[in-house]
Structure formats: structure tokens, C-alpha cells
Symmetry: D2
Subunit: 127 residues, 4 copies
């Protein structure tokens, strides 16, 4: 039985959340519900479902599906979440969520921090 | 510059969040703020700070430090978060957060699901 | 450009390797080539290819495809790697690699260590 | 007992290995032993030991400690691994391994691939 538990645990898998996202989500205008929603999307994508419905997402959250739709819309408007079109092998068009704008936004924050730090060093060295 | 970004990104690191936690936190009585708080604790531990203060935690969240203290107390009472004592190499006593009860709780949920599924199979096979 | 790099980096993804595997692979009879081969299989599975060919695997390694076939056979015989049958949505049968026996083996090692430690404690307490 | 297993498993932790490293290590001149050695260093760093000895590293590998020292030297010469100096809180100087040159090298490979792809697209569009 013990072994089955480890096997199921490993097969359920993990999502990798950049520490930068944890440190910066507030700065880029997100709250904890929106953070959790993004993590749920990552978790569904990881499990092979690239376009979970608001019902599927809300089913794991303490919000209902219409509140969930509202948050998804807001994240798309904020250009943190985007919806991309794909073509399956059979030529069927499908939609999927992409978090690439989120990673790009975090990269921007990182560059800004580096520049600020550089500036600070320069100012300190001048004196 | 590009390379620096990747290096900083990798050095900032990632936290690993079990998909099971994403699927079950609601069932074990947590909401999105409490989930985020647990992830912040994981993120601080990962960065070497095993006992972040309510101020440090709240500083990254959309709640203030007294609300944060309240949530920490609640998580300890729910036996999801625990505070352990350690002894440093120099013999100094220190406190640290432990999430082992959370992992144990998720393991319980997993066993329960397996048992339910086993039961369902048995029932289906009887007919 | 910088941002693109982070986005590509995140989209290329990561594999999660249990520290236990790093600590125990030698004990369970594996060497570095076999460890690397298992990690390549994990990496292909993560990218959606659940049954990479010996050619695809060897293409990323410093061995040729016949040596790779030999190692795959050995890992299957050692019951560390297994090949499972699946049915696609269209009813087409397919094969895929599974690492569940590897996780089960590591869980065994962990239990054995715990028992040994327990035993040691008991022996020490007796004196 | 089952629960203990999951707790120990989670506490042993995981290392995150970029898929890019798996795809490119051969191209940047590494073999499977050297890859494994880098992963062991990551695993020790993750566990809080930033400067494992050749004996500690070789202890988990199928090589002896003098072969291990040789490989460490080679990785440093290849500028894939570097040794940095740090100062502890008590003002004691210490050495630690850094993998930042490895991440930078992988970022280079990624940029090169992107440029090649861009070139290919441009060439194809011209015809």
C-alpha cells in the first residue's frame, strides 16, 4: 500500500512555481485569488488539459464559475493570460491558454530590479 | 544582459507545488488566501528563511500583518502548519515552520480516494 | 529579446528529479548512463512523447542507438522501467514507458532506511 | 506508516532539471557522468551543502573520488562549473559551487537556435 501511495503521488505530479511569481504578483496587480487561478491553469496544462473551462477551474476553488469567468476575462485584459489558437494533428482548430506574457512580465520586473540595483551601486560609488 | 536574466531567474529558484494540493485544498477546508500563505512559507523556506515573520509574509500579500497572524494561527489550529523547535550548530534554539502535516493530510486524501475507487470497482464487478 | 529567452526557457520546462533517486541509484544497481537514460525518458514524457525510440533517446546521449536499446532492455529486466499498453481516444492501441516501478523501489529503500534507523534508536536506548 | 513515507519523500525534496540541459549537454561537450556530477552538485546545494567534497560526490556515484576530482577540474576548466567565495555572517570565508555559467551557456544555445530558426524562416520567405 505504501508504495502505491508514492507512485500515485509522483504520477499526480507537481507544478513548478517561480519564486519570482510569489515575490512579484502583488506588484503586477494580482491578488491571491488571481494567483491561485493562474496556478490552477498551470496545473491543468501540466495534466494535459490546455483549455480548462471556468466550471472545471471553479470546481477546485472557493469561487463559483461566473466569478471565475470574470477573473479569466480580467487576466486576459491585463495581458497576463492569453488564449492561443492551435491546430491538432487531424487539422482540428483548438484553443489553449498561454502564460508566456506572465513570464515576460516577470522578466521585465527582474530587469527593472537589476537596473535599479546597478543605479544604486553607481550612486554609492560616486560618493 | 539576456544571460544575466536566465541566471537570475534560475537563482531565484522555483517551488514545487504538488498537483494534489491544488486539487484538494478546498476539500481540506482552505481558501485561496490560505493556499497562497502556505506557498509563501514554502518559498521562504526554499530561500533559507525557515521562520518568516507575519510582516515578511504579509509584505508579499494583499493582506496586512495582523490578518496574516490570524491566518497563521488558524492553519496551526487546523493542524496543517506546525511550528517545530530546532537547535543550531552553536546550540541556539530556533523555531521553524513545518508543512509535514499538510503532506500527511494529502496522503490521507489520496488513500481515501483509492479506497473509494477500489470499492466502486468491487461494486461494479459484482453486477 | 531578453523576454523571449525567459519565455522559451519556461516553455522548454523542467523535469523534477527526486533527491532520493540521486542518493540511491547506485544502491539499486544503476550507473550514470542508466540514470541519464531514465531522466531522458522523463524529459520526453514531460514533453508529451510517452514512448521515445532508442534513436531519439540516443540522439541526446553519447551512446549509439543499439547501445541504448540494450540499456532499455536491461532496465526493463531489472523491473525499474516498464512498458504499458494504452488505448487512445480513437481506440488505437499504443505503448508507453512507465517509471512507477522506479518510484516504488525508491519508496522501499526509504522504508528500509526508516526501519534501520528505528532499530538503531531502540538499540541505543537499551544502553 | 504510509503517511510517514510521503512526508519523508517530500522532505527529501526534488531538484529541478531544465529540459534544455537534457537536450543540450552533449552539444556543449558533456557526457552522462559529467551530467550526473552536475546534478549531484545541484542536489547537495538544494540540501544546504554548497561545497560537497569529491568524496561526498563520488560516494553516490560509480566513480572513485580521484576520478571525481578530475571531472570537477575539467568542468571548471570548461567554464561550466565555478567556485565562488562567500563570507558567512560570522565573517568566515567559505567556498561554494556555482552553476550560473551553465545556465548562461544554455541561454546562449537557446539564442543561437532562435537566430538559426529566424534565418531559416527568412530564407524560406525569400523564395
Amino acid at each position: 500500500m505504501d508504495k502505491d501511495i508514492i507512485v500515485s503521488w509522483m504520477e499526480a505530479g507537481m507544478i513548478q512555481v517561480p519564486n519570482l511569481l510569489m515575490q512579484k504578483y502583488k506588484q503586477i496587480g494580482l491578488d491571491e485569488k488571481e494567483l491561485a487561478l493562474l496556478l490552477h491553469i498551470l496545473s491543468f496544462i501540466e495534466a494535459g488539459n490546455e483549455f480548462p473551462t471556468p466550471e472545471q477551474l471553479a470546481g477546485r476553488m472557493t469561487i463559483n464559475s461566473s466569478e471565475c469567468s470574470g477573473l479569466l476575462r480580467k487576466l486576459v485584459q491585463m495581458q497576463i493570460l492569453s488564449i492561443e489558437e492551435g491546430l491538432s494533428e487531424d487539422g482540428i482548430r483548438f484553443e489553449k491558454y498561454s502564460l508566456s506574457s506572465l513570464w515576460a512580465r516577470l522578466a521585465d520586473e527582474l530587469k527593472f530590479d537589476k537596473k535599479q540595483n546597478g543605479l544604486k551601486h553607481t550612486l554609492l560609488e560616486e560618493h
